[in-house]
Amino acid sequence: MSSQLADMPSKIVNPPSIQPAADALPTPTPMIVVDHLDFYYGKSKALHAVNMNIAAKHVTAFIGPSGCGKSTLLRCFNRMNDLIEGTRIGAGEVRIQGVNIYDPTVDVISLRRQVGMVFQKSNPFPKSIYQNISYGLELQGVKDKKRLDEVVEKSLRGAALWDEVKDRLHSSALGLSGGQQQRLCIARAIAVEPAVILMDEPCSALDPIATSKVEELIQELKKKFTIVIVTHSMQQAGRCSDMTAFFYLGKLIEMDATQKIFTKPSQQQTEDYITGRFG
């Protein structure tokens, strides 16, 4: 084991030539295109010339050890990184449905309505279950009570939570269990009908039963939404994603169909990581 760890740095310093990601992908309609993206936190470079296509209505998983830039890339897709002081795009573009989202003319607010997000720690507002779901619509000025009722029910059903909470829609969301809270956050995200849902380690704080519920949900959701999920769990990536991208130290090492990544990856680093030799 120790010998393999010692081998790693040389591979990082001289990464083997990477196939251009686009060539390897059987993507009919790319929803998100990442084009030679460099990303900086202040002076430190967090993403190095990342290229990838993310297919519409598929689940794409980002895997890799901590600090490899997978969450950073995810947060580029809805410009959540704008909230952090000192972050900037060094070079390259992120195009969603052909639009470069870092173009100055792009309205960040409507971008975020198109690209929803579910966070690592479930973060319902300290409001009622109903208000949590209706929040996004109310922001857009929807006041019609009937419409809100409909959307709340539809979203909760969509997140497989309706049966559990239909009798207490107006009690605090903080009274729900951890898994229910996370599904509530998913319901909240789908209530505004985005095109893409970003999930940043959505199950890392959940127990196995809650996790399997969320994973089933992801399978349902991909019929309607493009899903990008960051996960630390190989099994989760294997179970619920169609495509998997492996990151290491800010670089995209390999991206391919999940089955291929987990059976015969083309890069040695990927294989080492997946088989648990490091990471």
Partner: protein, 533 residues
């Protein structure tokens, strides 16, 4: 290493080395006693303060009871029954002056010169004189009796002083001198009987007064010169009502008993609900909280109305909108304000703020502002504005903390749903930090209520309940406050006297007010922590 060796090493490690000891104490013990000792000292000092406050204030109600029962026994209360209608009557005659001034102005405006105007008011002046004269007998009787009962009270006081002196002599072991010191026993029954018989003259005097009043008002109503004057009309109505109510005084005088005991509750009520704070008076001392409490509250409310919006807006700006550069300037700058000594602020208030506001209020085109022009330079508004300055740093810092403590993931969740900064602020950040903000406001309020130097210097120090019948200009009246009165009078009172204890009671009330405010603030904060979950 063999198994045996390992076990030996382990057991040696578990037993531990002998630790260095000083006077049989390890370093840990020393630390424990040092910090524990400091905590104990702090607690003991607080307890001592509480005990001292309670002990010094406790005697007040008993002393006030004695004070009030002397007021009754010596007949002062009896004479005050007559004084009340007489003062009301004085108010009526003062009202006549206003009516005259008004008519005089109208006459001048109609083109007459002062002499002509005075001539035109001759009939009115005759009426005023007639009205003023009706009280003659009653007023004379009242002032005669005032002197009589004052003399009785003085004798009671001299006797009480001698009793005190005798006690002190006994205490010092000078028994013989104590015995030699005789104090006069005042026979209240006899004194009151004399006063009551002299007061028999009240009935005819008051009847004459009522009749005179009725005659004067009836004449004025039918006179041509009085037509169409609304002010006079009001005054006449008041005078007629006064004449109707006058006989009630006799009823009250007849029902009055000198030997009816003054209950303890009356002493408490006289303090809590008393409308007058009069000390070192030749007649009767009153220790009523209301003027001080209302003054304190008025000043504090003005301060909060100014400070809360400013401080909360600053907090929102600094925590949510400002760039790091702005933050680095604004935050320390506002917090620096709290480092200004309050006496310096008070000085600024007198020298600059009070003067500027008053001269502003005298500018002609600003007279539409209610309360302008104002007559006093130092008033509730001046003090309130300065107190706002002292409370802004408190409210700002705590509210800013509350906003900054809203977990980042609430903010992110809101932005991720496509909320603008303003929507996130109003719908998520403020509701989530609301209890923190409320407790910031409460603590700011506590700070304002307890502030002394600024109000002492700038509030004008007139002991009177603000007259809210005058509308907004009530805010421009000088007031006195609970803190101010303690600071001002405590240095001059004799230790153990009723006045001294009354000031302590004010201090206790102040203490409890602060305690309650702080308690509520803490409760609110605790609720806030739970709601963040």
């Amino acid at each position: 290493m063999s198994i045996n060796e390992q076990n030996a090493a382990l057991s040696a490690a578990l037993k531990g080395r002998a630790r260095a000891k000083v006077l049989g104490l390890t370093f840990d013990d020393v630390m424990r006693y040092f910090f524990g000792g400091n905590a104990t000292v702090a607690v003991i000092v607080l307890v001592l303060i509480l005990v001292f406050l309670g002990k010094e204030g406790a005697g007040f109600f008993g002393q006030n009871q004695v004070n009030l029962s002397v007021y009754r026994k010596a007949g002062l209360e009896y004479v005050d029954l007559m004084r009340m209608p007489m003062e009301e009557f004085t108010g009526l005659t003062r009202g006549l002056n206003d009516v005259r001034l008004n008519r005089f102005k109208v006459l001048l405006a109609s083109g007459k010169d002062a002499e002509q105007a005075n001539a035109a008011l001759e009939e009115f002046d005759a009426f005023a004189d007639q009205l003023g004269a009706v009280a003659g007998d009653a007023r004379g009787l009242m002032s005669d009796l005032t002197e009589v009962v004052s003399a009785v009270k003085t004798r009671v006081q001299i006797a009480a002083d001698k009793d005190l002196e005798r006690d002190m002599l006994r205490h010092a072991g000078r028994e013989a001198e104590a015995k030699a010191l005789k104090s006069e026993e005042v026979d209240f029954q006899k004194e009151i009987a004399a006063i009551k018989s002299a007061a028999g003259a009240w009935k005819p005097a008051s009847e004459a007064m009522g009749a005179g009043l009725r005659a004067a008002t009836a004449a004025a109503r039918s006179a041509a010169w009085a037509k169409g004057d609304k002010l006079l009309e009001k005054l006449l109505l008041k005078a007629e009502k006064f004449a109707v109510d006058l006989p009630e005084v006799e009823v009250r005088m007849a029902a009055w008993r000198w030997d009816e005991p003054v209950p303890y509750s009356r002493s408490v009520a006289a303090f809590l609900y008393g409308r007058e704070w009069i000390t070192a008076s030749f007649w009767q001392d009153w220790y009523g909280m209301l003027p001080l409490l209302s003054g304190s509250l008025l000043v504090a409310i003005i301060a909060m109305v100014v400070a809360v919006p400013l401080a909360i807006s600053c907090a929102i700006y600094v925590s949510e909108i400002a760039t790091p550069g702005e933050k680095a300037v604004i935050k320390p700058y506002i917090e620096f304000v709290s480092a200004i000594p309050s006496v310096v602020l008070g000085f600024f208030g007198i020298a600059v703020l009070g003067t500027v506001i008053r001269s502003l209020s005298q500018v002609e085109f600003l007279h539409w502002i209610p309360g302008f022009p104002m007559s006093e330079r130092l008033n509730a508004l001046t003090a309130g504005l300065l107190l706002a300055v002292t409370s802004i740093p408190t409210i700002f810092s705590l509210a800013e903390d509350a906003l900054a403590n809203v977990p980042r993931h609430f903010k992110e969740a809101s932005y991720a749903l496509g909320a603008t900064r303003f929507q996130t602020l109003v719908r998520v950040l403020i509701p989530a930090s609301l209890s923190g903000i409320i407790s910031a406001i409460l603590l700011g309020f506590g700070r304002v209520i307890g502030e002394t130097m600024v109000v002492l210097l700038c509030a004008g120090n007139r002991i009177a309940i603000p007259d809210f019948t005058q509308g907004v200009s009530a805010f421009f009246q000088p007031v006195h406050t609970m803190t101010g009165i303690i600071a001002q009078e405590m240095g001059e009172v004799a230790q153990g006297s009723i006045h001294y204890r009354a000031l302590f009671m004010v201090g206790i009330i102040l203490f409890f007010a602060s305690l309650i405010i702080n308690y509520i603030a803490q409760k609110v904060v605790r609720k806030y922590r739970i709601s963040i979950g």
